[in-house]
Structures are given as structure tokens and as C-alpha cells.
Symmetry: C2
Subunit: 320 residues, 2 copies
């Protein structure tokens, strides 16, 4: 696709109306400790409290709610080892749509169980020898299923934008907004919402240092592909931005920042110790970057994208 | 004191007005997962989001706001190794009252640092050879300071009752309410609020199995003293109820339940994994007991009393 029809703010607004009866309007939290430390007013949009534990539910629900009767009958297919899998599985269950999720056979047992728990069929593949996109496409073609990709889809982007729409409608204008960046669904959607509702707000995408393809793409003007990055931010281990997400990000976002895994762990510990919140490593990206900036006197928005982290892993990271 | 003037609901209402400008109106959280598991509607009053991380701030603030000018000048003294120390220290700082906190010399460094961080003077004692109550009383007498005990004080009880007052005003009547029980400040205050605002609500205090002095006292009709119990619920390691808390609890509460440390850990893991909340072991008491009851179709309130747990300890418990 060289010239896709990009989603716009009106699609975010339509998504918000569409998913209202299903998604949680997540709380915006503040912390006196944080505000004192920054000398600023910081608003955390807590998508770790979203259904299934991450913002991904918004996009999945928005996509599935637009299925035709024929699509509903044939079902949905998705490939993901993470939050997108559970988001599609839950959204499909709520709408009684059959769902097939393609997951690596070495995915955490808990994640497979959770996905099956939502009633989805799990198709396993070998991540070293097989191509999940190909398996997904084959399934879609053979059974007439609709493939919903994890980020590069107008309905996914529009759905993800509803979180920042809620944030800005609740707390008003912001000086800066920090959003985790993986494949760019959340950042693209957030920037559509922020440009419309807080035009003066500076918008920053934040990705792991080890996987800065977004930053490279943003500055070079073309989609840069990298190998799967080694980072604890498993939700941001994407190899490239998408045909839909990249042009929106390039046009609407002010800059892409990166943070180290050590900074993610520090942020995760701060959330747990001082704010009593469980946040997954990817969910810490925005805050980890904001902590480095000089924000005195400003109004700052930070998207906490999710809270799905294996408890043993969480414990390990907290005590590291 | 054989016949103390017990606080009543009007004191809780007055406390709510008094502390309104200082305390956080903490969020009431719900969880679809929990509701489905119970077949009930469960409301969590999240005092882990209270200032300094626990409900204790409410009582401390209510007590210090009633100091005379003379008392303010001479200062406040408190003995505690836990949340009461930090609550008094923070409340005193906000009101520019000098505070002295008597803490065991082997208290966690982080807690001592936090207490000093609020500007309080820390007086250390040896918990094996010295009596903290005696040290507190001596300090009070020698310097004209006012001693504020951790739970057995009408102003403390009235202040703690404001959390359940907020809960019931926000969500309406309940069928049952589960409240952590240590010395009884929170339970006594909560029962004053619940009996007034939700007369039909069954009220349960919950304490650790290993320290069931409250249960024994409730059933025998006299205050039973025990040795310091061995339990991970460090906020409930009290040896006896108080002259003020016991008669209120005995009159207003329906029953006292106990839970094991293993059940507390399970509840703590549930909070972290499914609800993305950091809750200290003592804060898990209410939920741990509620999980055992048959609550189908009911409206249940659960007080999460606090979230102050050392991160290493938290990590250990999560992975145990």
C-alpha cells in the first residue's frame, strides 16, 4: 500500500462512541510525590486498568465492531504473543465471533492459557522456522477469516486514540504528552487525538534504546527495519513502523525519544513503590523518558499503556 | 479508663469536613474478573492511594487539626515502626507542628528515612529491652508534647471512619463490608460510618490467624492480650484491642474472621496480577476473608488499608 487512506480524528471520535459500552474509561491518576519531584503537574492515563490489562482492547473492539455479518460468521485471526492476542480474543468473545490466534509454541503458558480462556483457538508455530504473518494470511485465505494486524490498521489506530481523547477531555490542555512506541498504533492514534484536542501540546513517542527503529524512521523519513530488539519492553519489540502508523507519526509527532532498560526498571519500581501501581515494562516507556526532561511548571500527560507482566518476572525486575 | 467517652458517627462526619482539604478522596475500584469469580458486585476502597500510602493519614490529620495553639507549639510524639509514624510525621509537617517519632533501632532503614524525610525527629529504642510506650509517655511529660497513640484515641477512630463514609456515599448501600483489624482504629471508625449509612450491612473485621486476639475478645466480651503475633501482616501485629476501639467493635460489628498468611499472599498476588495494584499484606486481609464467603448476588465492600511494602519483600512474597 503506497497511499493508504489514513485515519483522522473523526475516526477516533467515532471509535470512542462505538466502544463506549465495552471499554473501561480508565482513571487518570496523579501523585503529589511526582509533582513535587518534577515541579510540574503530571497526569497518568492508566491503561493498565483497561479490560485485559492494556490499551490494546480499544483497537481490537473498534475493529471487530465494524465486521460485516459475513465476517462475523467466518471469524477473526490474529498473530501475537502479547496483549493484542488477548485483546482480540476478549473482543471476539464479547461479540460471539470465532477467534484464532497464532502464537509461538514457546510463548508463556500463562498467556496461552489466558487466550484460550477467552475462548479463542490457539494455533502454535515455531518462531525460529516459521513465519507468523504467512500462517495468519494462509488461515485467513483458507477459511475466509479476517486478519486483524496488531497495529497497522486504520480501525486499530482509531481505537487506540480513544485513550488520549479521554485523557484530554478529562483534564484539559497539556504542554507535553509521552506515549510508548512499538509498532505505532497507540502513538499514531494518540497524536490524532492530541493534535485535535490540545493543538499546542508537544507529542513524544518513546521506544527502547535497543529498538530505535521508530526514531531512525522519524528522522530519515522512511520506514527503517531492524532485527527483533533485545529489551525488557516486550510490547515494543517491533521491527518496523507500519504503512498507516508511520505517515501519521511523521506528520503529527514532535520527536521520538529512547530510554534504556535500566531506566524502565527504575520507572517500574517508582510506580510500584510510590504510586502502588503494577505497570509492565513497555508501559513504563513514557514516564521513563519524561523523568529526564526539564518540565518545571508544565502540565504533562503520560500514557501507561498496560500492566500485564508475569509475576515472577515482575518480582525479578523489582529486586534487580 | 473504664468508661471513656466513645466517638460516634457525628465525629466521623466532623472529621471528614476537617480533613477534606488535606486527605485524598481515594478511588473505589471494581474488577470484572472479581465480580465474575464471586458472582457479586465488589467495591474496593483503595486506601493504598491515600497520602503516605495508607488510611492512617486520615486519623493522624484529624487528631493534629484539633490541637490547641499550646499543643502545636510543644509538638506531637508517637511510637510506631509502621504507617502511623509516617502519618503523624506528614500531618505534622503539613501543619508545621514539631513531631518526634519513637521507632525501634532495627526498623527498616527506608521507613526511618521516610519518617525523617517528613521532617520528624526519630528517637530510637531497643525493642527487646525498652518499652516504647514508656519512652513516648516520658517524652510527652518532659517536653509537654501530646502523645497520639496509633489506634486507641477518639480522634484517630473518627478520622479512620472517613474512608468507609466516602465509600458508602459514593456507591450506596452494601450487603457486607470487610475491614482489616489490628488495634481496631479502622474497624471501629468504619463500623460507626457503616451502621449510620448502610444500617443493614453486615460488618466483618478480619485479622491474621496467628494474632486472633480481636476474635477472642469479640467472643469473650473482654479485651484479650496476646504476645506479638508472627504474621506477614505487620500492620496487624497488635497485642490487644483498645479501651475505645473494643466497645465500639463489640457493639457494631457482626463478626471477626481470620485468614492465614498463605491466603494473604494469594490475595496480594491477585491484586498485583489481576487488578494491577500494590497492596501491603495487612491491606489484603479484607479481600482474603471475602474470597472464602458465599456472596452470590450480593454487594460487597472491601477496604484495602494500605500499600506500603518494601519492594524486596513484595518481590519475595510474589514469587513465593
Amino acid at each position: 500500500m503506497s497511499n493508504p487512506a489514513l485515519p483522522a480524528y473523526r475516526d477516533v471520535a467515532a471509535a470512542a462512541r462505538r466502544i463506549a459500552a465495552y471499554a473501561t474509561t480508565t482513571p487518570v491518576m496523579t501523585s503529589r510525590t511526582t509533582d513535587e519531584a518534577f515541579g510540574a503537574k503530571v497526569y497518568f492515563k492508566c491503561e493498565n486498568f483497561q479490560r485485559m490489562g492494556a490499551f490494546k482492547f480499544r483497537g481490537a473492539m473498534n475493529a471487530l465492531l465494524q465486521f460485516s455479518e459475513e465476517q462475523k460468521t467466518a471469524g477473526v485471526v490474529a498473530y501475537s504473543s502479547g496483549n493484542h492476542a488477548q485483546a482480540i480474543a476478549l473482543a471476539a468473545r464479547l461479540l460471539s465471533i470465532p477467534a484464532t490466534i497464532v502464537m509461538p509454541s514457546d510463548a508463556p503458558t500463562a498467556k496461552m492459557a489466558a487466550t484460550r480462556g477467552y475462548g479463542a483457538t490457539v494455533v502454535e508455530y515455531d518462531r525460529y522456522t516459521e513465519d507468523r504473518e504467512q500462517i495468519g494470511c494462509d488461515l485467513a485465505e483458507r477459511h475466509g477469516m479476517t486478519l486483524i494486524p496488531p497495529y497497522d490498521h486504520p480501525h486499530i489506530i482509531a481505537g487506540q486514540g480513544t485513550a488520549v481523547k479521554e485523557l484530554l477531555e478529562e483534564i484539559g490542555e497539556l504542554d507535553a504528552l509521552f506515549v510508548p512506541l512499538g509498532g505505532g498504533g497507540l502513538l499514531a492514534g494518540s497524536s490524532l487525538a492530541a493534535r485535535q484536542l490540545a493543538p499546542a501540546c508537544r507529542i513524544f513517542g518513546v521506544e527502547p534504546e535497543a529498538g530505535n527503529d521508530g526514531q531512525q524512521s522519524f528522522h530519515s523519513g522512511r520506514i527503517v527495519h531492524i532485527d527483533t530488539p533485545g529489551t525488557i519492553a516486550d510490547g515494543a519489540q517491533t521491527q518496523h513502523l507500519g504503512e498507516y502508523t508511520f505517515p501519521i507519526i511523521r506528520k503529527k509527532v514532535d520527536d521520538i525519544l529512547t530510554v534504556s532498560d535500566a531506566e524502565l526498571i527504575e520507572a517500574m519500581r517508582f510506580f510500584a513503590e510510590r504510586m502502588k501501581l503494577v505497570v509492565e515494562p513497555t508501559g513504563c516507556l513514557g514516564f521513563a523518558a519524561a523523568r529526564r526532561e526539564r518540565l518545571t511548571g508544565k502540565r504533562i500527560g503520560i500514557v501507561i499503556s498496560g500492566g500485564n507482566v508475569d509475576m515472577r518476572r515482575f518480582a525479578e525486575l523489582l529486586s534487580s
